[in-house]
Every structure is written in C-alpha cells, then in structure tokens.
Symmetry: C2
Subunit: 245 residues, 2 copies
C-alpha cells in the first residue's frame, strides 16, 4: 500500500475547522489538481466558485441548512456543472449549441464530480480536511443569485476546505460484495450484504453516541427515502436552461 | 508539491495497455479506495461491475464504439449509479422507496463519479493507467442486458485499467481563470479565456499530429454540440425505472 492509497482510504469528512486561512499556493495546487481530472471529450463542463467572503459564507451556511462549518471553513468551494462556457464557445464559432438532452446533463454533472474529487484528494494530501455539502441544493435559486451564476450553470454541491479541528472515526462502508460484481450484477447477494452492514453500522452508531443512537443503515435509508427529497430541483434546473430530452 | 499532487497533475488517459493481468491485491486496493470516497448521506448509490471475461470485454469494445483498448485492458470497470440496493434496504424495513426526483438521480450519479475518481487515482498511484469510457452510454440497453443490471441501475461510464503501453502528452486545460471564480461568477472574462485556450490547443494538436490537425477547442466544441448527443438516454433511464420529477 503506497501513501496515496493510504490517504484515499483514511478519508473522513471534516466538520470543524481551525481559523487558519489557506495560502495561495495551497489553493492553486487544489484547483490545478481539479483541472487535471478526466473530462468527457475535454469539454470541461464545470466551474468552481471559491467563496472566501465572510458575509457570503455566512449566508451560504444558512442556505445550506444552517451548517456552521460552511461559515467557519476558510475556503468554501461551490462546484457547478457549466454548459454556459460551451455555449459561448459554440457562439464564437457561429454555431447554435444543442444542449437539451439528458446526456448533456450527465456529462456536465460527472465532469464536475471528477474535478471536485481530485480537489478533495489534493487538499487532504496537504493535511487539510474537506466535507461535501449537498445542502447547496436546498436553496439552489438563492445560491445561484448570490453567486451570480449565469444560465446553463447549476451548483452540484459545495465543499468546505480547511485545517481539521477534530478527527472523526472513519465511517465503515458496505461490504465489498455489496458494491462490486464480477462480470455480471449479482442481485441474490444484496440483502445479505445489507444485513451484514446493518450490524456493522449499529455498532458504529452505538459507540459513537455512547449508546444513544441505536439504529441500522437500512432504517436510516428507509427514513430518508420514504418521502421525495428536494423536489424543486427539476424546475430549478429548467429555469437555468437545462433540458432533459 | 507532494507526491500525491504530482500524481494528480500528471494524469493522462491511457489507450494502449500491456497484456499483463492485475493481481488481486491491486484490484482490492483500487476498489477499497473507491469505497472510501465521500457519499451523500452515506447512501453509497453506486455499484461497479469488474469485467475480466475476454468475450464480454470484446463485446463491450464493440458496444462502446469499437474502442480496442476496452478489449485489450486486463480490467474493465463499469461504474453504475445504483438505487436498486437502496430500494432493497427500504423494503427490508417495510418502506416503499420514493425515488422519482431529479435530486435522487443527481445523488446516484455523483456518488458513482466520486468513487470512480478515487479508483482512478489509486490505480495511477500503483503505476497503472486508466481511461474513462463515456461510450458505455452509446448502447446502454445492450450493456445493461450483458451485465444483467437490475432496475434502478444504469451504467454511467466505463473505465479501462492496466499497465500503460504508451505515454501520451498531458493535455492542456482551460486557463484557470476560465474555470475558477472568486465569490461570484465572472461572465465577462469567459470569451477571452476561450480565445487563449484555442491557441494553446491549436499548438497542441499541430504538434501531436505533426501538422495534420489544425483546429481549436471552440471549433471542436461547436462540431460536437451542433447536434443532439445520445438522445436515447432519457428513454433508456426511464426503462430502468428512473424518474426526473
């Protein structure tokens, strides 16, 4: 096992940050690493808004569901799927961009995630911590207005970056047989793997909360998925000019 | 700059592989690293099909657009967004999963991409090469049948993994000012950045093709986006049970 693999495997999300700013070399290393991730046909269909303004971070902390670390972290990155720049490129060539398919949406969303994960690894390799903020989709219209995102851009997730001020336990994952299949997908093994993981997570929650939280993964998932989540996303994306034909 | 950041920044896609199989320790390291990537609320909404069967790789090479390296590489990973397992978890708890929103689709697609990028980095850290295969979406129905993917699972992209048998140039990226914005999105600078990048890419293409390919990035993008791409994706995803309300 080499140091990079060790780094990848000791990831934990950091939700408490020291009040130490990042220096510009660190930020450049993070962003350049992000840019070198793979991109579908080199379309590079993403942009990043680096938010350091304290008032904006404070507002974003509220908009993402009152997550204090969004305000505390020295650098808050908003990772956006971006087809605006591609439309500009097309227009510079006198071409009208056709961008109305689900395929276009998938490519932009995946490009964004690949770049962001490279940024996360780069940050962690320098002793920094990160946490992804899906809550950026709680109030995407307000985020879009605050960050002045143009049409054909949407915030996929946020990311706090900074010096960790705690060391949480590494969260156990599903057994590898639940996630990995050889040549064909094996549905027969799935429920047994969930049962195994339920017991692992029960022990994890009990220990982490000193016996207060007695639950299992499948119950957490059932509680989460018994109602629709962020139902505003489709309409918001259409307002931003995305189509899904 | 530490070794991990150097690794991230020297990524190139590998499209020629030596005929050396991977050992099981390598595969375990890649897959475990993938699992340790962040996941939205720990839903882990992805699965990976590791294809090593030669006949299947041959068929996938055709289905992805006659990409020979899909057949040549010792390990072909098909990264799938997966809500099937979550539905199983809900059913084990007697809950009917509500999964019909764009939000659910984004979460599953992003979870898949984050895990895959960790796998890519782990592989590269061991001296292996990778290339993402968006062509897996050329014929998603046939891929789904071949890999026996159940409902609520879709192949987002493939990934070749193996020992590199060439060392392509690192592809230049857009200038950082095109991609990164400070506090708010700056639309004013975008076209100038595209013009700069066009010149960088022109030189890159000319040198790589010994003068044969004289083009710029914006023209490549205009040629790509003047027609809809993979228009079958929406209908395919709906056949797999995904909804986008």
């Amino acid at each position: 096992m080499n140091p990079t693999i060790e780094l990848l495997q000791r990831h934990r999300s950091i939700r408490k940050y020291k009040s130490i700013p990042l220096d510009s070399e660190q930020i450049i290393a993070i962003l350049h690493s992000a840019q070198m991730a793979s991109s579908s046909s080199n379309v590079q269909a993403y942009s990043v808004i680096a938010v350091t303004d304290p008032a904006m971070k404070k507002e974003l902390a509220v908009l993402t569901g009152n997550q204090a670390y969004v305000e505390q972290c020295p650098l808050f990155l908003v990772w956006c799927a971006d087809m605006y720049r591609l439309r500009e490129a097309c227009e510079m060539q006198g071409t009208e961009m056709v961008h109305g398919t689900m395929e276009n949406f998938i490519v932009a969303t995946v490009d964004t995630a690949l770049a962001a994960q490279n940024a996360a690894i780069a940050a962690e390799s320098m002793g920094l911590g990160i946490v992804y903020i899906g809550g950026i989709r709680n109030n995407p219209r307000e985020v879009t207005k605050l960050l002045q995102l143009p049409e054909l851009v949407y915030p996929v997730f946020g990311m706090c970056v900074g010096y960790p001020d705690h060391t949480p336990e590494i969260k156990p994952r599903l057994g590898s047989k639940a996630v990995f299949h050889h040549n064909t997908y094996d549905t027969a093994g799935v429920r047994g793997e969930i049962e195994n993981y339920d017991q692992v997570m029960r022990a994890y929650y009990l220990e982490r909360t000193k016996g207060k939280r007695d639950t299992v993964w499948s119950k957490e998932m059932a509680d989460k998925y018994r109602q629709p989540i962020r139902e505003h996303m489709r309409a918001f994306l259409e307002e931003q000019g995305f189509r899904f034909d």
